[in-house]
């Protein structure tokens, strides 16, 4: 009566293989999580952003792996059990001398099954190396504050960006400018388009040559009313050439008057 021992042995093998597959899935998930975490740190994203896709990966990957766990997979690793294990697994409830003999034979051969055979040591080593490298990168980037892109700031900037029509423009001023030529007063149109947006200017203390701590208050300086004698005003030849004749006298008088002052 070998039905019970074979059933127990089959369950034990299945359980062991399940554990190994689960372990492999955990390692795979850890690698994925570490890579995602590194990405989040370099892009200045919150660390928990890495957790959600890692969890999703863990569920899908583990489910897929566990679904594939069957006796055929075990037989692939142990050719001496080829087609015998699945036969025993499907027929262990049968009771006849041939099934009993097969159960006995398979029970003996099952002793050869080593759970370590289901561990892919090459892959495991590669995954551990990847995890170590990624861990160093994560620690280094956190210590030296290395960032490829301030993702949050970029998002804020993108949110703050409005198309031209949405800017708060003083329409009265625009109308005034359109009706009268007030460009001398308002300056260039492109400057007015800034509207009432506040400009945030930040000076990077590392990049700037200015030492804020050494800046003194501006000194009072007195200037003379009469310019020094070295400064003279003379009429330019071009004026005489380009100015129409009827205006030349007026212009000359104008400049003479200026130099007198």
């Amino acid at each position: 009566m070998l039905a019970k021992p074979i059933s127990l042995a089959l369950n034990e093998v299945r359980k062991a293989v399940f554990q190994i597959v689960l372990f492999n899935s955990v390692i795979d998930t850890l690698v994925v999580f570490m890579l995602l975490l590194m990405g989040c740190l370099l892009l200045t994203l919150p660390a928990w952003y890495a957790l959600v896709p890692a969890l999703a990966y863990a569920i899908i990957h583990t489910y897929g792996n566990l679904k594939d766990v069957n006796f055929s997979k075990i037989e692939e690793k142990f050719p001496s059990l080829n087609e015998q294990l699945i036969t025993v697994a499907d027929n262990w409830k049968e009771q006849n001398e041939i099934v009993d003999a097969l159960n006995q034979e398979v029970l003996l051969k099952m002793k050869e099954i080593r759970t370590s055979s289901f561990l892919n040591f090459g892959r495991l080593t590669r995954e551990i190396v990847v995890m170590a490298v990624v861990a160093f990168i994560v620690i280094g980037s956190a210590a030296f504050n290395v960032k490829f892109l301030d993702f949050q700031q970029t998002i804020k900037e993108l949110q703050a960006f409005k198309p031209f029509q949405q800017y708060d423009i003083n329409k009265d001023l625009l109308q005034l400018e359109e009706s009268q030529n007030l460009s001398d007063i308002l300056g260039e149109k492109s400057v007015t388009e800034l509207g009432q947006q506040q400009l945030n200017l930040q000076i990077n203390p590392i990049m700037s040559d200015v030492d804020i701590g050494k800046v003194k208050a501006p000194e009072d300086r007195s200037f003379r009313d009469v310019p020094p004698p070295q400064i003279k005003a003379t009429t330019d030849v071009s004026f005489e050439e380009n100015i129409p004749k009827q205006y030349q006298r007026i212009v000359k008088t104008y400049f003479k008057e200026i130099t007198k002052s």
Binding site: S72, E83, I86, T87, V88, D90, N91, A101
Partner: protein, 311 residues
Amino acid sequence: MKVEDAKKTFDFVFSELNKVIVGQSEVLKEVSVALLADSHALLEGYPGLAKTLAIKTLAQLMDLKFSRIQNTPDLMPSDITGTYIIEETSAGKRNFKFQPGPVFANVVLADEINRATPKTQSALLEAMQEHQVTVGNTTYKLEEPFFVLATQNPIEQEGTYPLPEAQSDRFLLKIKVDYPTFDEEIEIVNRFTEEYKKAQLKPILNKDSLLYLQHMAKMIPIANDIKRYAVQLVTSTRQNKKLIEFGASPRASIGLILASKARALIEGRKYVSKDDINKMAFPVMRHRIVLSFEAERQGMHEDDVIKTLLK
């Protein structure tokens, strides 16, 4: 008896057969499969390939009642099943007495079965399927085990009547007998052209041991995956309309599993392997499929189509 003992027995049977038959090891194994599966086999091959000799020799190795029917176009059904004859008693009274035909044996060799007319061929139908014969109003049970091992020449030859599908379906296996290899033929020539001491064969299997071996063959377990594979193979003959006009019946599925179990026992295995299914697919299915015009146009034979299905 253990599976290992069954293997030893068959190894001994084959070694004894090889004293008479040169080569044809696969043919002999397939005939043994039919015996173990409690079914019938049809051997097809050109004349002179030792089909009849193989069956006669196998029958000699079994301590069973053997009979031979030499089929000819004028053979009548009653020549096979038996008939009523008038018997006169000592008192002078005349009675009808049933005279059993050659079908009342354990191993029936139906030689050149396709030379008999369809009517005569059909006389074997009931015997093969039901293991009984009805003559007049009386049904007679046949003794177990009961095997019909038939031989036939390829149906394309003159003066032959192809077996109807219903009849060929009763044969578990259609075994193709091929020409021997060059070396085998040299050995055949040596044996039959020189002074050769005729092999003395002794019965190895008796009725009880054969029945027990049949029982053992049925006990061989099979994995569900392999069972599904076998049934899928048979059902695929009904789905491949491009190459097969009529596919194999569920009887082919039963036969394929039984034959695979018997093959596993002969090879001393306690389980059925995929290789058994692949090997037995040819003799089990080749007479159960009707090729389409497209397959025939491409010059394909039944075995080529089965090979395609196995891929």
